[in-house]
Subunit: 246 residues, 2 copies
Amino acid sequence: MNETLDLTIGCESCPIKHRAVCARCDADELETLDGIKYYRSFEAGQTVIWSGDRMEFVGSVVSGIASLTQTMEDGRTQMVGLLLPSDFVGRPGREFASYDVVATTDLVMCCFRRKPFENMMVETPHVAQRLLEMTLDELDAAREWMLVLGRKTAREKIASLLSIIGRRDASLKLEGTIGKIVFDLPLTREAMADYLGLTLETVSRQMSALKRDGVIELQGKRHVTVPSFERLMDEAGDDADGGMMA
Amino acid sequence: MNETLDLTIGCESCPIKHRAVCARCDADELETLDGIKYYRSFEAGQTVIWSGDRMEFVGSVVSGIASLTQTMEDGRTQMVGLLLPSDFVGRPGREFASYDVVATTDLVMCCFRRKPFENMMVETPHVAQRLLEMTLDELDAAREWMLVLGRKTAREKIASLLSIIGRRDASLKLEGTIGKIVFDLPLTREAMADYLGLTLETVSRQMSALKRDGVIELQGKRHVTVPSFERLMDEAGDDADGGMMA
DNA sequence: ACCTAGACTTGATCTGGGTCAAGGGTTCGC
DNA sequence: GCGAACCCTTGACCCAGATCAAGTCTAGGT
């Protein structure tokens, strides 16, 4: 499934090399890339791109968390995507950004100037195909989230979010997704609310309720221990298979 | 924007030829396609594919409307995509379906056997690129819908749905999206509710309210007249630009 | 013509989550 | 060490939309 993740050609802190570009490629392409690649750092809370801005680059998250958000004129906001390390940002072929991209934590991104990247994509078909696969994955994630937003209760929403972050975190640490899981929440209660279509008060109340009921333990406000991942999945109302089926 | 829509090489009732395959291609590729192409018809209410089924084909909607839906064990369902004529169905590279695909009205699809289609995709890079563009469009639509599901009121949700269907319908008829619009709702109140994350009673009440307030007129239950599209957009809480910016 | 079934509407009531308000805990800078 | 700024929690109350319960309307079928 993650057949490209173990490739280590090139700089290992740059996930795009592994996932979008390096997959099944030869060293020549890495040479090509190095001329158009650069890193950018952002502080927590900083906006990476405003919706409507010209996109000068595409890239991927090296460390930290970014979020895609949409805002209505009256200030209501909805997070429409959570970008974790190794996630791709940007739209080859799109001139302007469709969403605000905000650094939710301190953030390092690996960027490629858009035009040269697009040219390279045309010349190397498997990059386009890898990008298509990644986009399809994002689409699946977005659609799964539509079920969360449209039909789940506040408690189920929280459990869903915790299980996504917990699973992702655990797989990065190469642990299993069974039994006990420990991780730090990279989001404020407000950011969680924006992702879940709730208010921060409701998020806080439901976190307390899940703690009271023994589904999670909290050390401080952000450090979470999940004694039974199955129990959490159950609270989330998901099928037990854990999303193994694409 | 719809640069590929006016191509008329090949059978004009088969949108995939126009949108996914024919774009900027030469006649040879049409020959290749004809060996692996077939049509399928479905009655309203029939299920095209069950989630988890092996996908034997990809294809596109020729006429009628299909929907992608997700269902929880307890029966709560959420529609995660509405497939209108010319929309693409299926995932090159994916073995199994992720969602139920249901014919919401009588439906004709133009199908391609999946394996040969994938092979063709590898050989003709611009098809992969067209598919990437289409997938990015779907992703944008899904994310826009996340804002609807997460943050909009029932009245705004209904107005959003009506404006999407109305706009799509009007553009197919080559009318503008300004001023008056007339169309038939292709969805039952229940299907609307499933798409909007509401109950059918709430949908019905809000339709009545929009009618009472003069935002829409109803002839029968399904035939809708929108005297002012701007007014409708306003009720939907959208920016005025009408989504012209991809 | 009548009967039935499915799609829709409308009313009455209930409730989950929003809103408003008042705190508490930590981490800064001074 | 003290105030200020965040971030978070908890309580009291309210309301949009869910739920439960009758209906109405229309299209087919006999």
